[in-house]
Amino acid sequence: MSVRQLWEGAEGDNVIMHLDGRSKLFVLFSIAILAITIDNPRTLFLLFSGTLLLHFAARTSIYKWQVMAVLLLLGLWGSMVSQALFFAQTPRTPIFMLISPDFPILGPLTNGLFIYQEGILYGAIQGLRSSIMLSMGLLICWNSDPRQLLKALMAWHLSPQVAFMLVTALRFLPVLAAEASEVITALRLRSNSKVGRQSICRHLPYVVNPLLARCLRRAQTLALSVVSRGFFLAENRKKVVWPMKEFSSCLVLALVVMVTVGSKLAYLASEQGFYVGFLRYLYDWTKLYL
């Protein structure tokens, strides 16, 4: 699989691919709001597992799974390890001592290095948040034609210029990756060096200039084609109907998001003194599950 194929939406036949662009974007935004709003570790874990299940539903290829696994692992473990070591809030319970405060030189310098149990969980929560977004982002990216997303944004009356720029930015990343790969291949051929990580590292400092030149050329071509096709002049676009089934599902999801955010806000308000007794079951639910 080429670098470009890896990052671009591929043609395929699965449930996610057939969804309307608006539905996909709506789900993405909703999940983003939920990931930010929810603090409960188990609920976040379930949300994360849900996004992984969506990848199964989308029949994500094994190669893409591997790439996603590496990215998720870096995020999750990076967050957990760093928070476990440097957790600064209280209470914090050291469960393992890496460097004793009495250890020569390093001990007095660091005041001891410990793994804190609260830090692991805190790191997991932060890691799960970013993993949910990464997983959902890749799902949409791998199962959407950029035109689909452009149409969705236009249907929501987003300015054509802004919508175009958004989608172009989205498409630009795989293009950039492919261009970088081509430049490295060219440099490697010129220097007659072997394939491998070492040769990539050796050529990396020389990648910037050719890559920038190629990007500028592409941008110029793109600008000319946009102007020549009169993209921003089109006024009467054909309105695409949002399938009723998807629209109703999105309404239900919106309701879930609103209830979640609402109950969280009510709970936070209660902490600031705006407490209403009959909402105490809602506060209870929020504390336990959100």
């Binding site: 190669y63 209470p91 469960i95 969980l121 003194g273």
Partner: protein, 468 residues
């Protein structure tokens, strides 16, 4: 090779998923090898500034057991009021403002909980114990004034409730005069159950003394107020130890000055006196370490020395008396840590033999027993035949491992029934009438060695035998 590497990433992701499932659940990995304290549950009460272990004014909290639904009302230094069920699950929680909650009382039917705070306005809150809804509130600022600029905050320091659910509070504010001298504004106020002010004492002025305690008896038709001002400057209008007020009108019936012992200028009471259930007697202990048993007419029936100040190597040492209760088994008094009279923070060459103790006398004043704890008796609460004691810091021995916790003592003979150890000092306690449920608030502290011990948490312990 590439396939193997990719496969490893997927396998690691699967194990990471399992690990996340594990740590986000209730049974986390770090609990596997730990011995769970099967005697009770703990609930964390939030972050608070951790005080130095040797500090005089220390972290507080208030707790009351609600028998009607086996729940606990807990007030914190963060101004938050919680209701937990018997298993520690939060029933409701509400934030009452920016102040510290310093005193608590329940109405007779346990439908209202009264909470007093120290804050720039010094509110008294009446909160529905079922829902956490605010029923009414009253700002003690209206009674004793406020000067937030110089951190002189009004405080509702004690609440007493009579049989008709009228509420009596002592409100107080510390003043630092321009000439550097200390002063006090104190006032007693009575409220009906719906929050209407019945009366104030004094009616048109403030008491120029520190008032820390009051108790009420319907049988005696009286409210007793104890004062706590060590200095009695010339011209002081309220220099006496106790003032007895008419329950209905708040008019002064009579007052009482207790004899003074060296090196004190005045006899003061900070955590007593309290009426017996029939209202005929009063028990109180003074800060100079004496115990008093009085009748409701204010006549001292007998006095006993619990921990009289002693001069050792030129320094006056004393262990202040604090509580005084009349129970069916006799009259109970307590004392706290040993202190140097010159300055609380100064070391003492020896421990006062009467410090950190609970004493029981019979009704004619015969000594029955003394139970000595390893730390301060911060608060005591009674069930039938049992007294539960919150054992806090010992600022002299710095005994962190043995001292802290809650203890249950058999009232008839002073034997230790049960000890519930905690890492940090226990600052507040209550016990159910059947003696089976005990709730205590543990506070964190920074030791002189710089180590943080304990946490701000609420414990619920079970004592299956109960009152037997």
């Amino acid at each position: 090779m590439k396939i193997v590497k990719g496969g490893i990433a997927l396998v690691v992701l699967f194990f990471t998923w399992c690990f996340l499932f594990w740590i986000t659940g209730d049974r986390t990995p770090w609990q596997i090898f730990s011995h769970k304290n099967t005697e009770g549950v703990e609930v964390y009460l939030g972050d608070i500034p951790i005080q130095n272990y040797d500090r005089m004014g220390f972290t507080r909290g208030v707790v009351r057991y609600v028998a009607k639904n086996n729940s606990w009302i807990v007030g914190t230094e963060r101004g938050e009021l919680f209701c937990f069920d018997g298993k520690g699950k939060q029933v409701w929680k509400r934030s009452l403002g920016i102040g510290k909650l310093v005193t608590i009382a329940l109405s007779k039917k346990e439908d209202l909980v009264y909470v007093g705070e120290q804050s720039p306005t010094g509110q008294l809150f009446a909160v529905d114990s079922n829902t956490g809804d605010m029923v009414w509130k009253y700002a003690a600022k209206a009674l004793v004034g406020a000067d937030p600029g110089s951190r002189s905050y009004p405080s509702v320091v004690h609440i007493a409730v009579d049989n008709e659910d009228n509420v009596y509070i002592t409100a107080y504010r510390y003043l630092l005069n321009q000439d550097g001298s200390r002063g006090y504004n104190g006032k007693i106020c009575s409220f009906s159950k719906d929050g209407a002010v019945n009366w104030q004492f004094p009616e048109k002025e403030v008491m120029d003394t520190w008032v820390n305690w009051c108790d009420v008896s319907n049988s005696a038709g009286e409210v007793v107020v104890a004062t706590s001002a060590y200095e009695t400057p010339l011209g002081m209008r309220y220099p006496k130890t106790m003032y007895f007020l008419n329950l209905k009108t708040g008019k002064l019936r009579h007052s009482l000055s207790l004899p003074i012992v060296a090196p004190f200028e005045n006899t003061v009471m900070r955590g007593s006196p309290n009426y017996s259930s029939d209202g005929k007697y009063l028990a109180g202990s003074s800060s100079d370490g004496r115990a008093f048993f009085l009748n409701s007419g204010g006549e001292v029936l007998w006095t006993r020395e619990l921990s009289l100040p002693q001069q050792v190597e030129g320094a006056w040492l004393n262990a202040s008396g604090r509580d005084g209760f009349v129970v069916p088994e006799g009259v109970v008094f307590t004392t706290i840590n040993t202190f140097n009279r010159e300055n609380w923070q100064l070391p003492t060459p020896v421990l006062h033999p009467g410090n950190n103790s609970l004493f029981l006398f019979d009704f004619v004043g015969n000594f029955k027993y003394k139970y000595k704890a390893d730390g301060t008796m911060e608060e005591i609460a009674f069930a039938k035949g049992i007294v539960a004691c919150a054992v806090g810091r010992n600022v002299r021995t710095h005994d962190y491992k043995l001292a802290h916790g809650a203890i249950l003592i058999k009232l008839s003979d002073g034997s230790l029934l049960k000890r519930f150890p905690t890492e940090g000092p226990v600052q507040a306690i209550d016990i159910s009438q059947d003696g089976k449920h005990i709730g205590g608030i543990e506070a964190p502290a920074v030791t002189p060695e710089g180590k943080v011990i304990g946490a701000y948490r609420f414990h619920i312990w079970q004592y299956e035998q109960g009152v037997g």
